[in-house]
Symmetry: C2
Subunit: 199 residues, 2 copies
Amino acid sequence: MSRQLQKLRTRRSIIDAAFSLLDEQRSLSSISLREVARVAGIAPTSFYRHFKDIDELGLTLVDEAGLALRQLMRQARLRIASGGGVINTSVETFMEFINDNNNVFRLLLREHTGTSVAFRAAVLREIQHFNVELTDYTMATTGLKSTIANLQAEAMVKLVFSTGAEALDAAPERKKVLAERLKLQLRFIVDGALKASQS
Amino acid sequence: MSRQLQKLRTRRSIIDAAFSLLDEQRSLSSISLREVARVAGIAPTSFYRHFKDIDELGLTLVDEAGLALRQLMRQARLRIASGGGVINTSVETFMEFINDNNNVFRLLLREHTGTSVAFRAAVLREIQHFNVELTDYTMATTGLKSTIANLQAEAMVKLVFSTGAEALDAAPERKKVLAERLKLQLRFIVDGALKASQS
DNA sequence: TAAATTAGCGTACAGTTGTAAGCTCAAAAA
DNA sequence: TTTTTGAGCTTACAACTGTACGCTAATTTA
């Protein structure tokens, strides 16, 4: 097997090992290099052949999580285009994402308020993508002026993420309830922003 | 000096030491017993005379933080009663709180999405207080029916906490901007909820 | 084919952690 | 006054951490 390929594979198994460790009870700052290496099936010191630091691995994970988030947006837009109500479709898509990418979303949430300045900044950047895209979308579809569209988008994203945090470890029925409540609350924001733009 | 009093003092110095360690870069799960003991000026093993665990200390801290939060609410209500607009006064009071009790609010934020199930539950309980009080207040002052009042209150609290997280380490000018944006966004929610209650 | 590169390993070390065991000595109780 | 209690201490240990150093062996390059 080619050397390059093998290296990529090991790198992947390190990343996967890290994600698998980020369960309900662990954060990036609480997983150790040795632990990751153990799960990845390599010697602790071999870790350094792939990452300078645990921090460098952490940033890689945040990047991957951000990528997943952007794919989520794309998927939501596709679904919206084929009808079904913007808020409804978005919330449903988001909730599916949380279910399927449990640890990925958890990583973003935790590091968003976490202890590492670099990680926080990295997560914030990903959330900003969300804000910008949603602002643009709102302006394009409703004609709201940019300041109000931006306020609306930001409020919506914050609400969605907050509820996502709550839904993450909730039972299925509870998740349904949360989703329905979220839809109503998003409706509040949309209607309120509309009213503000009219006065 | 009385034995009882001395014990209370040491306990306090342990708690204070812990709070002082919870700066921008540390969370409850990342501070060690030995470190707390060092700052508190006692031997590591003496810690056990006061707390069973680091976790027991953690829960104590969350309790204290919750207490501070409830005092915040009381203060906000007092100020509102003496005029000045509910949203305006509340946001200003909240922002002052974040400034003055930096590490206290940081603790709540971090542990809200943190790695310890017990801590998360404890923080959630404190936030629930907020929700209930705000729901009651909304019902009493606007006559909104409970389901809508509750949705509104929950959305507002989530938005306030999210913005608080952002404001925590922001520069003073940025904090002002965040406060003004938050006020507008809260207005969206209030207006949206009002509209929902009318249809 | 011979030489160079490099992913991964084993060993090693100093630093940190939580906490068990038992001592001291001042305050409280008898 | 004598006895009991208990907050705080010192010492000790096993477990874990990150990472420096140098080796091996297989792939890649010359």
